[in-house]
């Protein structure tokens, strides 16, 4: 990789005393595979040049070769910290392209799993940020709760890490009473842990000193650099797609958009902690008011496999089953293109899907929040010390699998 050319204000002669340090691609504090070339003046970071692509696996190319249901397994592997949010985003985009209106029960279940994955994502982000700045206990608290959420997902779909929970027009499997029981007990136990976590770090002298005033992002800058999600909200942008463009069942619930104005690492940590509480409120409201009815759209839509009782006993069920299973048939897709986005834990996660009439997307573009947020990094770190690199990196929550796709 070539470093950026010396600029007019910093000619080569003045850069001679600078020390170049490679941060990553394999470093415990990058958490994932990314490389940053740091130019240091003593301990001060003069410039940072991100070098990415180590985990580039051609997910968008694969999206042009796997059908609308198969590709959900690939979206699991994009942001593997909150895979279900990606599943919901992908099939939300496909359903908008196909013009399918999913059932009320499906909307509620998708809302619940998306919010649970938001909690899980924020737990990892704040936990890892604590770990990098020296708060090991905090990290263990966070990871214990993540394990509880993984357990819920395992009961739900049989997989802990890559649930692939959604299908076109519905879900892989309905909630069982055991899942609801586990979510209810999580709602009961989690606030206590969250309180403990806040008590550990919110007024912790070391943590606050290391994060306050570090990596400040102004509001105008945040908007101009396409930043979304908790990072933008920590800078005072009030945009939250759950409120601004209510999708799924979000319009039915009472929750608040958490914002801060400082725009530094501490504000980003704080917004994430506050969002977990709001997410828990959404889950608590949703789990007690799940509508009854089917989770998949009906046979007339011809998008999901009908239940076996319908396949064997009705002619429409049999026809739909065969239409979907046969190789030269399948979904009816318009030759059109559409974009649909959700408020994923990391920011706006959208898919631009182009349909060409076949079962496979002609183009499956993902708008990855990590990719856009990592572009901020040089701006945020310039002028700070080497030890602030991990604090800023932790607060941005960069997931390399989503960064490189």
């Amino acid at each position: 990789m070539s470093l950026a050319a010396p600029t007019a204000e910093r000619p080569q002669s003045q850069q001679d005393y600078l020390w170049t340090l490679n941060f990553g691609p394999q470093h415990p504090a990058t958490h994932t595979t990314l490389r940053i070339v740091l130019k240091l003046d003593g301990e001060r970071v003069v410039d940072a040049i991100p070098d990415i692509g180590f985990l580039h696996s051609g997910f968008e190319k694969l999206g042009e070769h796997l059908d609308y249901n198969q590709y959900v397994t690939i979206t699991d592997r994009m942001n593997y910290i909150s895979p279900v949010a990606n599943n919901v985003a992908w099939h939300g985009a496909v359903e908008r392209l196909l013009g399918i209106d999913i059932t009320p029960r499906c909307k509620y279940l998708r809302t619940i799993v998306a919010e649970l994955s938001r909690i899980s994502d924020h737990l990892l982000c704040t936990g890892a940020m604590g770990l990098d700045t020296g708060a090991f206990t905090f990290f263990l608290y966070a990871f214990y709760q993540r394990e509880v959420i993984y357990d819920i997902f395992e009961t739900l779909s049989g997989q802990r890490f890559h649930p692939s929970y959604t299908r076109v027009g519905g879900l892989f499997y309905d909630f069982t009473p055991l899942v609801i029981q586990k979510i209810r007990s999580f709602i009961k136990t989690f606030p206590q842990t969250l309180e403990d976590m806040e008590r550990l770090l919110n007024r912790n002298r070391i943590f606050v000193d290391r994060t306050k005033g570090v990596g400040v992002l102004a509001k105008d800058d945040a908007i101009n650099r396409s930043v979304t999600g908790p990072i933008a909200r920590a800078s005072g942008v009030t945009r939250d797609l759950r409120k601004d463009e209510p999708y799924l069942a979000y319009a039915d619930f009472d929750f608040q958009v958490c914002c801060a104005t400082a725009g530094d690492c501490f504000a980003r940590y704080y917004v994430r902690m506050a969002e977990m509480r709001e997410s828990l409120r959404i889950v608590a409201q949703a789990i007690e008011s799940i509508p009854s009815g089917p989770i998949n759209v009906g046979v007339d839509e011809r998008t999901t496999l009908p239940p076996k009782s319908q396949v064997y006993q009705t002619i429409e069920g049999t026809i739909t089953h065969f239409e979907l299973v046969m190789l030269n048939r399948g979904l009816t897709v318009p030759c059109e293109e559409s974009y649909a986005a959700i408020e994923s834990p990391n920011g706006e996660l959208g898919f631009y899907v182009v349909g060409d009439g076949s079962n496979v997307a002609y183009r499956a573009r993902c708008r990855p929040p990590s990719f856009i947020h990592f572009a901020l990094f040089p701006e945020l770190i310039r002028g700070h010390t080497l030890s602030d690199v991990v604090a800023v990196l932790g607060s941005l929550n960069i997931i390399a699998a989503e960064l490189d796709r």
Partner: protein
Amino acid sequence: MPANPATLAALTARFGPLPTSEFRGQTRVVVARDQLLEAMRLLRAELRFDLLVDVTCVDYLNYRDAANRFGLVYLLASTDTNERLTIRVYLNEPQLTVPSVIGLWKGADWLEREVFDMYGIVFDGHPDLRRILMPEEFTAYPLRKDYPLQGRGERHNFPVLTRREA
């Protein structure tokens, strides 16, 4: 939600009638390449589209009834009004250059670099147009439709080590 009629009226007032279409509540406006920068400036400054959500591209090589080879997609949004608008620019083979919008939105930096990396579209005026995801010595543009899924011989160049040699 479809775009505000006032937005479309302002665009038509400046550039004359532009091909506009709507699908599932999303409004798309096709802009000519040499009008792109001016249209974006108008949208950014006067019509308050302050958020560049995404820049991407579609290769219409095998697409049924497609008239153009590449279609650039600019997804814009407003943080004030939550209005969304899609701007399309169509490009054809010898002339794969468009003006960069990095002067209006700094967020376009990496997004345009990715489109350059994957499709070979050159963004004129971009200060640092290098490959971003693929290695620097890579010569093809992998998301083009004439590039095969398996790659084109890149893997054969890797040295093969057997257990005996290692």
